[in-house]
Symmetry: C2
Subunit: 406 residues, 2 copies
C-alpha cells in the first residue's frame, strides 16, 4: 500500500463550486491513514513548480467547510498550459516533496497535464497516482453528462435572463446579453430556462454551434420585435460566421473602416455594444440595451445549484477513493443514470480519454431554426438547476373598457 | 367618506421589489369597503392617459403574491416625464373612470407628477387623493433614510463584488466593474460590503460625489497593484471630471481624436472598456478585466433583501391608509428610528417635499481619500442587506518549506 502525501491544485477558470471539490478531496483524504498529509498548491501547476505548498492537514474542518461555500479557487488558479518540460518540472517538485497523489481540479487542458505528469512518473518508476477532477462552467468535457460549475453558472444565466425579461417587459425595447462559452453553447442555451409563459424571453438564442449571419440576425430581431414590440436575445461570446471568424472581429472591421483608425475593442463589453449598435443603426429601433454577463457567471457569491454543490463534492471524494483506495490514475466523469429520476454515477476513465477534447451542444439540443433550443435540452438541464429556483408570475387581471373618446 | 375606485401605477426604472409595493397597495385597499375597485394602469402614467386599465380586484391573492416575488414592474413602466398638459390628461382619465385614489410607485420625477395631478384635482374641486410610494435603486430620494429597491440592488452589487474579488484573487490582475447610479454613489459604495478580511476588494471605489481624474485614478490603481499584485475597482457610471463632464465623454474624445472618426460609445459596456483599456495602455498591466453590471442590478431574479421586501410592501400599505383612511395626499417616506436596533417609521410628507430633488452620499459616508467609504456608511447599510448574506472564507493553512534549489 502506497504511503505518502497528497497534493491538490486548481486550474483554469474558477467556478462557484470548485472549492467544494477542493474540500471534498481534502476531507476524504483524511480518512485514509496512508495519506500522511494533504498539501494545497498555490495557483495550480505553477505553485507546484515553484513549490508553493500549503499544509491543508492543518486547516480545521469548519474553516474548510466555510471555504467550500465560497466561490472561486481558494488555492488560486493559473492559465499556464504546461508543455512536456513544464510537466517534468511538476513531477520533479512532487517527487522532492514525497507526494504520491496528485489531484488536479480543472478542465480538459488540466486533464491533459495530469496525463503527461502520470506518464513521467511511470517512466521514472515513481509511484505517483494522478487523478483529474472535472470542473468547467462551459460544460464541454467529453464523457461527462455535465461538469461541476456548469449548473451554478446556468442558474446565474437563467436568473439574470428571468429578471432581464421582466425588465424588458416593463420598459419595452430590444435587450441583448452576451454569455460566456467560446466553443460550447450550453451556458447560453441555459438562458432558455428563464421562460415560463408564452412569449417570455429570451426570444432568440445564438449559439457558437451554428453559423451567425448579421443579416439573418437583424431579420430575426425585426420579426420578434414587430410581433411583440420587444425582443430579448441571448448571444454566446463565441458566435462566428461561416468561415469561423468571430463576429466581434467582423463587426469590428466595419467600425474600423468607418472610423479610419484604431477602435478600442478589447474588454468584455465590446461584442454586446457592437451588436446593439448594429440593431440601432440598421433597424432604427430606439431602445436597444446590451449587457455582458462577465465574471458574475462563474463567481457570483450566493447563486449555487444544490445539485452542483453536492456533485462537485462527491466527484472529488470519488477521485480520492480512486487514487488512494483503488491505487489508480484516471479522470472521474459524471454519468447520468437512466432511472427515470435524476441520478448520477461517478465513473473513472483513462486520463487520455478526456484531455484536450471539447464537447459541444449535440444537434438534438438545438431547434431547427438555429435560434432556439429543444425541450430535449430543457429536460436535460432542469434537474441540474437545484432547489429554490425562482418562479415568474405575471398579472392576468381583465382590461377595463375605455370611456373617453379619442 | 370618499367612495370610488383606486388606480395604482408604476413609473421609472423597475426594481426587484417594486411589485411588493404594487401588491401591498392592492391588498391593503381591499380592506376598505369604500374602495370599490382597484385598477392597475399599464406602463405608468402613459396607461392612465391611454385608459389602459386592468381590474386588479379580479386578480386572486395567490396570483398577486406570486407577482410580488417577481422582479420588475408587473404593470409595465414608462420613462415619460409628464408636463402640465400631460398631467391634466392624467386627471381627465382618472375622473372619467370615477377614480378617487391615485397611488404612484416611483422616484422623484413620479412624485412630482403626483403633485401636479393633485393640484389639478384641487383646482377642479374633484375629490382625488394622490399618494406617492417611493422606489429607486439609486437611493436618491430626499427625506428617506433609504428607498425600496436599493437594498436589493445593493445586495446584488455586494454579492457580485464578493465573487469577483475571489475570482481576481484566483487569477490576479486588475478587475473593474461599472455600477449604476448617475448622480448618487450609494449603489457603487455598496460594493464595500463585499469586504470581510484585510486586503479584500474592492480596493478602490469611485463615486459621482467626487471629481474623477484619470491620472489620479491610474496612480491609485498602480499603488494597489504594486502592493497586492492585484486590484479590484468599483466605478460609478456617473463619474465626471472637475467641470462635470462625464469621464466616458472625456475618454471618448481621446479615442475619437486617435481614430479621426466616429467611435461607437453607446451601449452599456463602453465606460468599463475605456477604463480597462486606459489601464492596459498606460500602466502596462496585462490582465485587466472589466464588467458592467447592467440590468441585473435592478432586476436579477432571486436576490432580494428580506428587509427590502418587507419595507416595499409596508410603505405601500401605509400609502393606502394615508389616502383612504386618513383621506390625505402625500409622499410616504422611510425614516430610521434611533432605537439601537434597526427599525423604521413610515412618515407621510407633502408631495412637494420629495419631488424633483436628488439626495447624494453625505460627506460623512466618504473616506477622505475619495476612493473609499467610511464605517459610518457600512453601519448605515448593513441592516438593510437582510438575511442569508453570503460569508467569505479563505484558507489559512501554513506554507510548506521549499526543498528544491532554485
Amino acid at each position: 500500500m502506497l504511503k505518502g502525501k497528497m497534493v491538490v491544485a486548481q486550474g483554469g477558470g474558477p467556478t462557484a463550486v470548485i472549492n467544494q471539490s477542493l474540500v471534498g478531496a481534502v476531507l476524504e483524504a483524511r480518512r485514509f491513514h496512508n495519506v500522511e498529509a494533504v498539501y494545497g498548491a498555490r495557483h495550480g501547476v505553477r505553485g507546484i513548480v515553484n513549490e508553493e505548498f500549503f499544509d491543508l492537514t492543518r486547516e480545521p474542518v469548519e474553516s474548510l467547510e466555510a471555504v467550500a461555500n465560497t466561490p472561486a479557487s481558494a488555492l488560486g488558479s493559473t492559465r499556464d498550459k504546461p508543455d512536456e518540460k513544464y510537466c517534468r518540472d511538476i513531477f520533479k517538485s512532487l517527487r522532492a516533496h514525497g507526494i504520491n497523489w496528485f489531484m488536479y481540479i480543472g478542465g480538459n487542458d488540466s486533464s491533459d497535464t495530469v496525463r503527461i505528469v502520470a506518464e513521467e512518473a511511470h517512466k521514472s518508476n515513481y509511484a505517483l497516482r494522478c487523478v483529474h477532477i472535472p470542473k468547467t462552467i462551459d460544460n464541454d468535457l467529453v464523457e461527462n453528462d455535465h461538469t461541476p460549475g456548469f449548473p451554478s453558472a446556468a442558474r446565474y444565466v437563467m436568473q439574470a435572463f428571468m429578471g432581464a425579461d421582466h425588465d424588458n417587459h416593463s420598459l419595452p425595447g430590444v435587450y441583448l446579453a452576451v454569455v460566456m462559452g467560446r466553443h460550447a453553447g450550453f451556458l447560453t442555451a441555459a438562458s432558455a430556462m428563464a421562460r415560463h409563459h408564452r412569449d417570455d424571453g429570451p426570444h432568440l438564442i445564438y449559439l457558437p454551434e451554428r453559423e451567425f449571419s448579421v443579416d439573418r440576425f437583424l431579420a430575426d430581431v425585426k420579426s420578434v420585435y414587430d410581433r411583440l414590440g420587444r425582443c430579448v436575445i441571448a448571444v454566446s461570446e463565441g458566435i462566428h460566421d461561416a468561415s469561423g471568424t468571430p463576429i466581434i472581429a467582423q463587426l469590428a472591421k466595419t467600425v474600423e473602416k468607418d472610423a479610419h483608425g484604431n477602435v478600442q475593442l478589447s474588454g468584455s463589453g465590446a461584442l454586446g455594444d457592437l451588436l446593439t449598435d448594429t440593431i440601432k443603426d440598421r433597424l432604427g429601433i430606439k431602445r436597444v440595451r446590451g449587457d455582458t454577463y462577465g465574471y458574475a457567471q462563474r463567481s457570483f457569491a450566493g447563486i449555487v445549484s444544490a445539485v452542483d454543490r453536492r456533485e462537485a463534492r462527491e466527484v472529488a471524494e470519488r477521485a480520492v477513493v480512486h487514487g488512494v483506495a483503488d491505487d489508480q490514475d484516471g479522470s472521474i466523469t459524471i454519468r447520468r443514470v437512466p432511472t427515470g429520476f435524476y441520478a448520477v454515477d461517478y465513473v473513472p476513465v483513462a486520463l487520455s480519454v478526456v484531455g484536450g477534447k471539447t464537447k459541444t451542444m449535440p444537434a438534438t439540443f438545438i431547434a431547427p431554426s438555429g435560434t432556439d433550443i429543444t425541450t430535449e435540452f430543457t429536460d436535460y438541464l432542469r434537474p441540474l438547476m437545484g432547489t429554490d429556483v425562482p418562479v415568474r408570475a405575471t398579472l392576468a387581471a381583465p382590461a377595463v373598457p375605455k370611456l373617453l373618446e379619442k
